[in-house]
């Protein structure tokens, strides 16, 4: 194998499940702490201190769950697809495991976004569900997650399962912008984005600051959950190697 | 002529929790016939699928004419004839149509030799019968006709004699011997006692397993 000089060292280290297991073991407590801090603080802020919306009243507080969940659901898919590509191209085992671990978290975030959105829709739009662009594309994203998970669980052999779901995740990734735009042209009713790179948020600071806290908290939560699942996956897939045996014996 | 065709170096494979073979190394030279032996479940099919490139679940190196098989995949496929547990015969097509498509897949095969090959395997008169109304053995024979068509030097055959009657087996053994004498080489598995009058090297997988739970 020709050594590719331009790829940094940590990339190769990442490829080693053992290194990955150890480093995540060190990072996990820190992330856990940050997550709890941010989420608890953010929730208190959101529920108690953030001002009510002048139109929607207190139902507006749902945004502090809804938007982070929606954002995370999309990011998790992206991560999953990238991991899939890395796994396919460099045959990196850890990437396969990341893909498998990220899917259920992303799917649960999609569910949370859908549920909170539906609950929010009842007081605001008067019905639990409307066929709006954002909602529809979130629903489809959820289906994509389900597809990846179903394929992953339907294939017995682990590395085959990982490769197959990587292909599916990549195909889905190509399709996500297409879905997004098609659905948006088809029908739009939903709020436009709050955070954009080019414009200042339209919300007052007291409103979007807690939102920012929650979003970061959700990302940290994602990291924690992902690392936990990843570590399980590593132990399972490497269960026959010496270092896992040692690890098991030590405990 | 003893050109080294296939070199297998420290091959390792495990399925579920069982090591099927470990440190398996051998070379296949032109003109050789190698029989892979082993009990049911000892990993013969797995080995042949790995050698042919269908399965990637292994560790170790496989070289084709001295080069890693991954890198010369196309040339390797050109030089290979693989015959698996499943015969690859379409039930609604006739024997002739089946072989015709097979000829299109392998550019080296001349389609005009198909009727001759069918006659060789005893299917003359059945050229136009859809394969689902052929017997089990006749279906296998359709696929075995590929042996008569092929110019590939390496034949990998997984239990080619299944369901074939005694006369058919003798003819096929004769063919393998001819192929070896022309400088081709064969890797095969079979539970038959081979009646080939010539040197057949045997590789026994039962002894190669690592921590097998098979008794």
């Amino acid at each position: 194998m020709a050594e590719k000089k331009w790829i940094p060292r940590w990339f190769y280290q990442l490829a080693s499940p053992r290194w990955c297991y150890q480093i995540t073991g060190k990072l996990l407590p820190w992330f856990m702490g940050t997550t709890l801090l941010l989420l608890l603080g953010g929730t208190v802020w959101a529920l108690l201190f953030a001002p009510a919306d002048y139109q929607q009243g207190n139902s507006f507080r749902i945004i502090y769950l809804h938007v982070p969940a929606a954002i995370l659901a999309q990011s998790a898919y992206m991560l999953m697809a990238v991991a899939g590509a890395v796994g396919l191209i460099w045959k990196m085992k850890v990437a396969d495991m990341v893909l498998k671990s990220a899917a259920p978290i992303g799917a649960s975030m999609a569910v949370l976004a859908l549920l909170t959105g539906a609950i929010w829709g009842k007081p605001t739009w008067g019905s639990w569900w409307v066929w709006d662009a954002r909602l529809t594309s979130m629903l489809i994203l959820f289906f994509l997650y389900l597809g990846v998970m179903a394929l992953n669980s339907a294939i017995e052999n682990e590395s085959t399962a990982a490769q197959a779901s990587a292909v599916l995740a990549l195909v889905g990734l190509v399709n996500i912008p297409i879905i997004k735009y098609s659905v948006e042209w088809w029908n739009t009713l939903h709020q436009p984005a709050t955070f954009t790179l080019t414009e200042k948020p339209a919300m007052p600071v007291e409103m979007w600051l807690p939102l920012l806290v929650m979003v970061i908290g959700f990302y940290c939560f994602f990291a924690v959950s992902l690392m936990q699942r990843l570590r399980n996956e590593i132990i399972w897939r490497e269960r026959r190697t010496g270092w896992v045996r040692e690890l098991l014996n030590k405990q | 002529m003893s050109e080294q065709l296939l070199t297998v170096h420290k091959l390792f494979c495990e399925r579920d929790d069982r090591v099927l073979f470990d440190q398996l190394s051998f070379t296949l030279e032109a003109g050789e016939i190698v029989q892979i032996e082993g009990q049911n479940g000892s990993g013969k099919t797995t080995l042949l699928r790995i050698l042919s490139g269908l399965s990637r679940h292994y560790e170790g190196d496989i070289l084709w004419r001295g080069e890693p098989v991954e890198e010369v995949r196309e040339q390797f496929c050109r030089d290979l004839l693989y015959f698996g547990h499943q015969a690859g015969v379409k039930a609604v097509l006739t024997p002739e149509e089946n072989l015709r498509w097979y000829a299109a897949l392998s550019p080296a095969i001349d389609a005009s030799t198909i009727p001759g090959a069918l006659e060789q395997v005893g299917l003359k008169g059945y050229e136009d019968v859809p394969c689902h109304s052929l017997s089990a053995g006749q279906n296998r024979r359709v696929s075995l006709a590929r042996l008569y068509l092929s110019h590939a030097p390496l034949w990998i055959l997984d239990e080619p004699f299944t369901a074939i009657d005694k006369r058919g087996v003798a003819a096929k053994e004769q063919l393998l011997l001819q192929h070896a004498q022309r400088g081709g080489s064969v890797i095969l598995t079979t539970h038959h006692e081979l009646g080939i009058k010539g040197p057949v090297r045997k590789i026994n997988l039962d002894q190669l397993a690592g921590t097998s739970t098979w008794r």
Binding site: G147, V167, V183, W186 | Q75, Y82, K90, P107, R182, G183
Partner: protein, 234 residues
């Protein structure tokens, strides 16, 4: 060993044609296969008036969507069989071990599949439109959109078929994998018909369908080939 090498460009063209011929033969051999997607298409169109309402005005509004949904389901239904029989009888292994480029064979298979389903559906669409009281202005739009949209459905569906071919029962899993990917085609397709019915320009939608088709045509054969290799190596 002697070795003829008449491969190269000409060999590839030969292979494409030979595969198309074989697939057609396989379909024609059992004539039912050929007419089945059409009959399914017809029946979905029959079920709707029965299940929903026989009122012409109401049906006319439904028509573009129903025809497109029917086309989508008909394609989906026939998709699972694309590689399954090849997998089960071992032809797929032979295919993967051929020295010829895999995506040629795959493309040939998909093209033939499309001719048996998508193209046939397109040709039958006017009849369906009539049954559902689609205004006559909508018919050219319907046919054009189907003509541009159904190949994409076949190509994308084939990815799903390739991914699930190694599974013991892929029949329904494939719909789970593929339907989300079908949605843009459905939206653009039915919007095009609706635009045609209301007299709006439909060039934009058709261009989008064409772009999707181009994208699928470039990427899908690669994805299908990769998926097949993965499925078989389990």
């Amino acid at each position: 060993m002697e070795m003829k090498t008449n491969s190269g460009q000409q060999g590839i063209g030969c292979l494409f044609v030979a595969t198309c011929r074989r697939e057609c033969l396989l379909s024609f051999r059992r004539k039912s296969d050929l007419v089945n997607p059409l009959i399914f298409f017809l029946m979905v169109a029959t079920l709707f008036p029965l299940g929903v309402s026989p009122d012409p005005g109401f049906l006319a509004q439904l028509a573009p969507g129903v025809v497109w949904v029917a086309a989508l389901l008909a394609t989906l239904l026939s998709m699972d069989a694309l590689f399954r029989s090849d997998y089960e009888d071992g032809s797929l292994e032979q295919l993967l071990l051929s020295p010829q480029p895999l995506f040629i064979v795959v493309l040939a298979k998909v093209v033939t599949h499309w001719m048996m389903t998508g193209l046939a559906l397109t040709l039958m669409a006017p009849l369906l439109g009539m049954m559902l009281f689609l205004p006559a202005e909508g018919v050219p739009g319907l046919m054009l959109s189907l003509l541009l949209g159904t190949p994409t459905l076949s190509l994308v569906g084939a990815i799903g078929a390739a991914l699930t071919v190694g599974l013991k029962k892929g029949g329904v899993l494939i719909s789970l994998l593929v339907l989300p990917l079908y949605i843009p085609v459905l939206i653009f397709g039915s919007s095009a018909v609706q635009a045609a019915v209301t007299g709006l320009p439909l060039g934009g939608y058709l261009a989008l369908l064409g772009a999707l088709l181009a994208l699928a045509l470039v990427l899908a054969p690669l994805a299908i080939s990769a998926a097949l290799r993965i499925s078989i190596s389990s």
